[in-house]
């Protein structure tokens, strides 16, 4: 979930100064309208960037009318609070219709901290996650607009801040012992936070992970997200409409997960040949071990048209025994497939023990082509993220290896390949008017990939974004990653 918030988003001072005045006016107006609205708003502001949470909170108070903001900060529960069930204090402080609350130290954050303390059993933890989900669903069902922002600071940035605090008095004021503790436990904390974010990101109450390194970007994203959600809700009037959530791209359309991929990566032919043969032989060995141990593998290949998926697949299977793998090309669903749930055709194709299945395009079509082309409704593709997460959780829990790739090329490189295909007799069939048409929606696909990575990535089922302007680099990168994923699954088996 955090990959999409480690890509160096930032907003220049001059740009920031231009945007803020208009944003402030819009926010105040939205607040004014809210006072007569039939719903309440709860903004959860949290994350691993503790200083950032406080700064953004102050900025929101400065930009909005503070008289109409109720801020509720929850620390470790007091003696009196511990006398009631855990959610009592949150319930008590819920805003009424027409009010906006900002919550600091919310239920999810407190749960993560308790879990990290080691005092929470597995069974208690599972119940807590359920209560969080029920609580948020209840609020959303009741019409509350619940906006959850997680301010994320990459580990190296936190380290940099702590270091600077040693020499700079101003910076020192903004960090304390808890931040140092946070740094020490960073690697333990991230998977726990990620689990909570995945589990509690439903269609109605998704988390927005905000890259927090650059304060301008962070504040514009949060404030802009609050504004967009308020406006969307006031416009739709529907009590159950999922909020339009600010993607990290809203503040600066040029920084996206795909934008962070280094397309200049390339591999000279000699190196490529040697690495390829070495990796194919490594894959062959692992695949034999997987057959013996009964560990199956699921490989997902997504990417732009002409990004080279076919070539990658050929290089993978060359490392495998024919009876061990199967390639599933995924196109438009058949009539029979359309008459079932969209996941049905993918469930059916899951590999037996020890086998490997390569999906050439996959269930992600739901949140890519079906979203962009309007083949799925907003309700449908929004809830697909948690449906997909549940599907992949089951694959991973079963002990299978799961490797997901997006092959990334630039629009120019794609065009070059399209044109080359038209000139090559045996590749001509691979190109049609559709392919050119899809190029018009490039930016929409970029936004869809952004949200896909943010909502379905993570420790258990990460996305691998592969630079594929150089086909050789892409093939080696995929094979190498695949070997690694398979090895980890074998270690767990």
């Amino acid at each position: 979930m955090f990959e999409a918030a480690e890509i160096g988003n930032s907003v220049a001072k001059a740009d920031y100064d231009v945007r803020v005045p208009a944003l402030r006016v819009d926010l105040i107006n939205a607040q004014y309208d809210l006072r007569h609205a039939e719903f309440s708003v709860v903004v959860v502001l949290t994350g691993d960037d503790r200083a950032g949470v406080n700064e953004t909170l102050n900025v929101l108070h400065e930009w909005m009318d503070p008289r109409w903001i109720r801020t509720r900060a929850f620390d470790a529960p007091s003696a009196e609070e511990r006398e009631r069930p855990g959610f009592w204090r949150y319930w008590k402080e819920l805003p009424r219709r027409g009010q906006l609350s900002i919550v600091i130290g919310d239920w999810s954050t407190r749960a993560i901290l308790a879990r990290l303390s080691g005092r929470v059993s597995d069974a208690h933890w599972a119940r807590t996650l359920e209560h969080i989900e029920s609580f948020e669903r209840m609020l959303a069902d009741d019409g509350t607009l619940l906006l959850k922002f997680w301010l994320h600071l990459p580990k190296k940035e936190l380290k940099r801040r702590l270091k600077r605090a040693r020499t700079d008095d101003g910076a020192a004021l903004r960090v304390d012992a808890t931040d140092r503790l946070l740094y020490e436990h960073y690697d333990d904390a991230q998977p726990v936070a990620e689990q909570v974010l995945r589990k509690t990101s439903t269609a109605a109450t998704p988390w927005t992970v905000v890259e927090s390194t650059d304060a301008h970007y962070r504040d514009l994203t949060v404030a802009g997200g609050v504004l967009a959600a308020l406006r969307a809700r006031q416009a739709s009037g529907r009590p159950l409409a999922p909020p339009a959530v600010a993607s990290a791209a809203d503040a600066d359309p040029h920084t996206t997960v795909l934008g962070s991929v280094d397309l200049a990566a390339l591999l000279p032919y000699d190196v490529y040949r040697a690495r390829l043969l070495e990796l194919q032989s490594r894959l062959r060995a692992r695949s034999r071990k997987a057959r013996k141990k009964g560990v199956s593998s699921v490989v997902v290949l997504e990417g732009w048209d002409a990004a080279g998926k076919g070539g990658v697949i050929r290089r993978i299977v060359r490392g495998l025994d024919a009876r061990d793998y199967r390639v599933v090309p995924v196109g438009a669903p058949t009539e029979e497939e359309s008459a079932h749930h969209y996941l049905w055709r993918f469930w059916k194709q899951l590999p037996r023990a020890g086998k490997l299945v390569i999906f050439d395009r996959s269930w992600y079509g739901r949140v890519l082509v079906e979203r962009v082309e309007g083949l799925a409704s907003a309700r449908e593709w929004r809830r697909a993220y948690s449906e997909i997460n549940d599907f992949e959780d089951q694959i991973v829990e079963h002990g299978s290896a799961l490797a997901k790739f997006w092959l990334h090329v630039s629009p120019d490189e794609q065009l070059r390949r399209f044109e080359a295909r038209e000139k090559t007799p045996y590749k001509k069939y691979k190109i049609g008017a559709d392919d050119y048409r899809n190029r018009d929606r490039w930016d929409e696909y970029v936004a869809a990939v952004d949200e896909m990575v943010a909502r379905t990535g993570g420790v258990e089922a990460p996305w691998h974004l592969v630079p594929a302007n150089d086909k050789r680099f892409a093939r080696v990168a995929v094979l190498e990653t695949l070997c690694g994923v398979l090895e980890r699954a074998l270690d767990r088996a």
Copy 2:
């Protein structure tokens, strides 16, 4: 969840013979219409009455057109099935739109059996419950009409059947070793089954628990439930409409949970005085211990108008120290309360450690008066059951004692009391036109109580239905039950 299915429902042979022919025609017609419908139907047929499941399955095949029924029976997973994630075999066999499947040995049943075997860890169990919930939510979101019937056999009836099998060859054919095992483990199995049923009874996919003792009643309830749900869905056309689920009362409107309460129960004055004083002193002792141990108590008093709630409360508090308790009278919500989630005002009132709060009417107003009077929409009160279950789970998990009472009087007794109130000067204020008007909806309230007990009762938070035609009997019964509940909470603390 099972209380409402242990009340002796039955349908006489003559009545059954009259109803079946029309039901068969309607079922066949509904099946015919379904073939062109835009949704699929999955009927889950399971329960602790194994023989009943088979008999009902056969009856459905007889009454419906078997060519248009796909039956899928799942046993322990085969070697091939175990090679994939657990839900693979269920996904694979899902019907397409326009088809109806009956599933025997469904995901919930298999999960319960695995859990009872002791081979499933707490963490794995929690994940399984989540996957079941996600799976069913996905199907419902996709438009599948999912109907889940749990055929319940009270323990004493199972015992009777096993006994009869020893002497009667016909009966012997219908029981086997698994049934004997089931009987031995009955008390362990019921709480596990109940947990699954509670957790997976959502507004869109509720369980219908069917009393299975009488075969006529059982078959009519299941077949009638399938028909009603099909008809409701075909009429509404809405893809997300919650199915109209057959309550156990549909087949025979005279048998209800309230109908099973023995209103003839009474207590002579002398016995009453002695028992009352004894129980008040027992309650006083327990309440002191609760204060010391920090165990709080939540008492819910519901019941008909003039059922004697006030008198019961006065007898409870006489056994308590004034600083230990609080009575919360619940009426129509204030303007401030209406501007919040309906549970907000109840959360706020939860007791501190060691204290006792009596709710004179409660959150159950949502599924009683608000349902019957149309103050809450069907969407709202249908989802309230799981909202209430989550609320009460948190109270119980916190270690508090929770005691829920429904004071039951007959319509005649109520009328007598209304008239008496009008004649008593100091009670006259207690009676108004509303009270008489509510009597017109008696049957609707009876049905609402039935569903309330079925969906929110259970081992952790059972309903106590108290016969209150005799006020003395009711007071003693409530006090005695309350002492018991408090004692169990103290033992756990």
